[in-house]
């Protein structure tokens, strides 16, 4: 369960270009919720993701994961609860290390590193099995440096790494945006299979309205650092792409009038 309460974060405080990225944002996800986060550029989506992962500290407000207050917890300590796949395939993996080593690193999210042998035979077998679900043949390339993989393969690997150990919260930050349409579909399908099978509490940022309507059980639309719209269940099922786009244009009208 994830609970964000009155989150506020201001960039460049007191400067002429001061920007309120999160303006009292509150949000609660129940265990197993699959929330699709939408919103125009600058709405605060990435800031919210960074706040949940710990990459960015809040000025005010609090974040609770499964009832525990993680507001002041640094990224590496929060990693036990939160896994993340970034938009950039380069960010989620260590390029100069092998596929198996990267999988090992992901495993250490749950079990902090100790002074014992890393890649044991048993572990390699487990990794082989987990990677085989992707159907990309990565299971036969465990000792290949990740730098030799394509963007899609790297992103698929990042996904497998993120869902391994079943994190309390899975953050997907436009994780298919940098991929070609076919690869994007492949990664998205793998994501859906994993999230459904493991019942992961997930937040997925996307700019694809059709995806927002089709997947997940909730839609959360951010605007100016707040939740502008929340749809779930019946409402979500009835919503259409033009409905969602409509909310975007309301905002730009307001921007025009305000200017």
């Amino acid at each position: 369960m994830l609970k964000i309460k009155d989150a506020r974060r201001v960039f460049f405080q007191g400067m002429p270009d001061e920007k309120v990225a999160l303006d009292g944002l509150s949000l609660t996800l129940a265990r197993g919720d699959f929330a699709i986060v939408i919103g125009s550029n600058g709405a605060g989506k990435s800031t919210m993701m960074n706040a949940v992962s710990g990459a960015l500290m809040l000025d005010q407000g609090s974040i609770h994961i499964n009832g525990a207050d993680v507001t002041a917890m640094p990224v590496h300590a929060r990693a036990r609860h939160v896994a993340r796949v970034f938009q950039d395939p380069m960010k989620g993996t260590a390029a100069s290390m092998t596929i198996a080593e990267n999988m090992l690193l992901a495993e250490m999210r749950q079990n902090p590193a100790r002074l014992r042998r890393g890649l044991t035979r048993a572990r390699r077998e487990t990794y082989r099995e987990h990677l085989s679900y992707l159907g990309l043949g990565l299971e036969d390339r465990l000792d290949t440096p990740v730098s030799l993989l394509s963007g899609g393969q790297r992103q698929s690997l990042s996904l497998v790494m993120a869902v391994s150990g079943e994190p309390d919260i899975l953050l997907l930050d436009e994780h298919t945006a940098a991929l070609d349409p076919r690869t994007a579909d492949l990664v998205l399908n793998a994501t859906l299979r994993a999230v459904t099978a493991l019942k992961l509490t997930t937040m997925m940022v996307t700019h694809n309205m059709a995806h927002a309507l089709e997947y997940g059980n909730r839609i959360i639309m951010l605007d100016a650092g707040k939740v502008l719209l929340e749809l779930s269940g019946e409402e979500k099922a009835r919503a259409t792409v033009p409905d969602l786009i409509g909310h975007f244009s309301v905002k730009s009208d307001r921007m025009l009038l305000g200017a």
């Binding site: 390029a95 290390m97 250490m108």
Partner: protein
């Protein structure tokens, strides 16, 4: 022929020296290649190790504990560099220069003078006196074994969970952090370890030459870098084992090249330009069409700022 004979005559001396300095090359390689933290602290931690070792010996500490005390001092120096980089966001190179500069004064304070002879104190090399080898071969055997053990232990370390975590910090520190690795601890520990190796090398050198000098670090960094480049050009960087072996192989080959230059009658003052040319050739070779086979795709260089 004269050159050849002169060179062969120099081999034991230069081999002993190069094995000792291979610890400094290792201390340059670890931050630079494994932690993506280009670091100049070795230039200061090497004489620090020497001075601390000399003072400890004078105080009656046995030779091995003296070396370990020296390594501890180097460890702290490395930690200091890593800390001021992490905490104050000072560029790694600048952080190393600052610590090196301050270490010069600290080294003078530790010894109380610029030069400290330790001719009559016991040395680690005395252990092998029952073998009745020549002075140089004693050093070669002892330091060679130490280097081999260090290489094997590092190989093991970097395949443990913690060692893998440390490498991840160098490969992609944001990603490592997101996987629950404490980047501060790994960086400080890793740079500290490099400082310890450098100071250990300083201690070995002091026990070998029989004196410590505050200026003994002058230029050691560029020599170490040259040796590293040569080692990497010979072995490549495709696997962890090769990367870890490069400092040792590089140190031996580099000092033999220098020795050839000396044997050929090159005045010592011209050695710096020879060193520069070696490094330049090693760095330029890949762009001039002498690509190594099996070199694989070089990992993109990205260093922390």
């Amino acid at each position: 022929m004269d050159i050849l004979n002169a060179w062969i005559a120099l081999i034991p001396v230069t081999l002993a020296q190069s094995l000792i300095l291979s610890f400094v090359v290792l201390a340059v390689m670890l931050p630079f290649r494994i932690l993506s933290f280009p670091d100049l602290t070795s230039e200061g931690s090497y004489p620090l190790g020497g001075c601390v070792c000399a003072v400890a010996l004078i105080a009656g500490v046995p030779p091995l504990p003296a070396l370990l005390i020296a390594a501890t001092a180097g460890f702290l120096a490395g930690c200091a560099t890593a800390f001021i980089h992490l905490r104050f966001r000072i560029h790694t190179l600048l952080a190393g220069i600052l610590i090196t500069t301050m270490l010069y004064s600290i080294n003078l304070r530790i010894m109380g003078k610029a030069n400290q002879p330790i001719f009559s104190e016991p040395k680690v090399y005395d252990w092998l006196s029952p073998l009745s080898l020549s002075a140089s071969w004693t050093k070669i055997v002892l330091v060679g074994v130490l280097a081999l053990v260090t290489y094997l232990v590092l190989n093991l370390w970097f395949t443990t969970e913690r060692g893998t975590a440390m490498r991840a910090v160098g490969a992609n520190s944001d990603m490592a952090e997101a996987q629950g690795i404490n980047v501060w601890r790994a960086t400080i520990g890793g740079i500290g370890l490099a400082g310890a190796f450098s100071a250990f090398g300083g201690g070995l050198m002091v026990q070998s030459q029989g004196f410590a000098d505050v200026n003994m670090g002058l230029g050691v960094l560029i020599n170490a870098l040259a040796a590293l480049m040569i080692g990497e050009a010979i072995l490549g960087r495709t696997t962890l084992r090769r990367q870890l072996a490069a400092p040792f192989v590089g140190a031996v080959v580099y000092y033999q090249l220098i020795s050839v230059c000396l044997a050929a009658g090159l005045p010592p003052g011209d050695l710096k330009i020879a060193t520069g040319v070696f490094v330049l050739v090693m760095l330029a070779a890949p762009t001039m069409g002498f690509r190594r086979r099996n070199a694989g795709t070089p990992a993109k260089e990205s260093f922390r700022e």
